[in-house]
């Protein structure tokens, strides 16, 4: 399976703001473990909050990476705070909106709002907030074996950017 936890980029203002969505579907294998039938309990598929945090991290990470043409290795270093006040179920869609609070050579701080909707209802409700801290690996992780090439932004990113009509050229 793929480690891609957003489906589409809805808006992207590099270094400032990005909105992405994720459809939640019973076709996702991990929902069959979370949660599986247990004794007298029926299966209860509910989207893991940790994967919502990853969805926001991918949204915010692309936003931060785009500010420097994806040349930096943008690594999630700290979940400053995350609150998920209500859960998400198959048939619903999650919306991640990330903003850059601060960005410098060492890394970036982002804030984010998580919303959900019933597919097709057109109504979104805010269900949580996720604030993250990223480091630019080459600048801050001396002494750790981080590869030379940018392993963070690869093929999956290109696919998702192209689908959004935001093809990224290698040079500007």
């Amino acid at each position: 399976m793929r480690w891609m936890w957003i489906d589409q980029i809805v808006e992207l203002v590099p270094g400032k703001r990005m909105v992405a969505i994720k459809n939640v579907s019973l076709a996702e294998e991990h929902l069959h473990d979370h949660f599986a039938a247990d004794g007298s309990l029926e299966p209860l598929p509910v989207y893991p909050a940790s994967l919502m945090i990853e969805g926001m991290a991918q949204t915010a990470g692309i936003l931060v990476g785009a500010a420097r043409d994806f040349k930096e290795k943008v690594i999630l270093a700290k979940i400053m705070r995350a609150t998920i006040d209500c859960d998400v179920f198959p048939g619903q869609t999650i919306r991640y909106e990330a903003r850059v609070e601060n960005l410098d050579n060492a890394g970036a701080a982002t804030t984010g709002v998580v919303s959900r909707t019933e597919a097709g209802s057109g109504k979104w409700e805010v269900i949580g907030h996720i604030d993250l801290l990223f480091s630019h690996a080459d600048q801050t992780m001396t002494g750790i074996d981080v590869p030379e090439h940018n392993f963070v932004f690869g093929e999956n990113l290109k696919i998702i950017l192209q689908t959004a009509g935001l093809a990224v050229s290698a040079k500007r």
Binding site: L44, A49, S50, A77, I79, T83, S115
Partner: protein
Amino acid sequence: MKFDLIDTVLEQSPDRIVAIKQVSLAEEYLADHFPSFPVLPGVLMLETMVQAARRLLSNRGETRLVLGAVKGLKFGSFVRPGETLTVDVTVTGSVDGTYECRGKGRVIRHNGGRPDETAVSGRFTMRPIRRTLPDELMRPQEK
């Protein structure tokens, strides 16, 4: 992907649990995270601690608690295929059916080269599943 991240429970007491998650190239998501540099995603370190906490709290009759909040969760060393993540989670308190936890994860290396290091540490809260926002948190709809 299969979403059972706890491979073995090493220790368990009423408010503390120590468990391990093995990291192996057989895990498919590693092909994407990252190609040519496979490492356990940070959120799966968190999820391992969450699943450990869920097991611990199931002994108190609480089933299917989910992650509700995270505070100050830092990531340290990477955990690579062939290494093991050991998580140590303590329940520090409970308020109105939500449970506050503190967790730490260390990467155990088997090749005798680099020493074991902290991979993750921080606090999180477990709560029952909610289908709708609690009344006190009902927010105006977004435009």
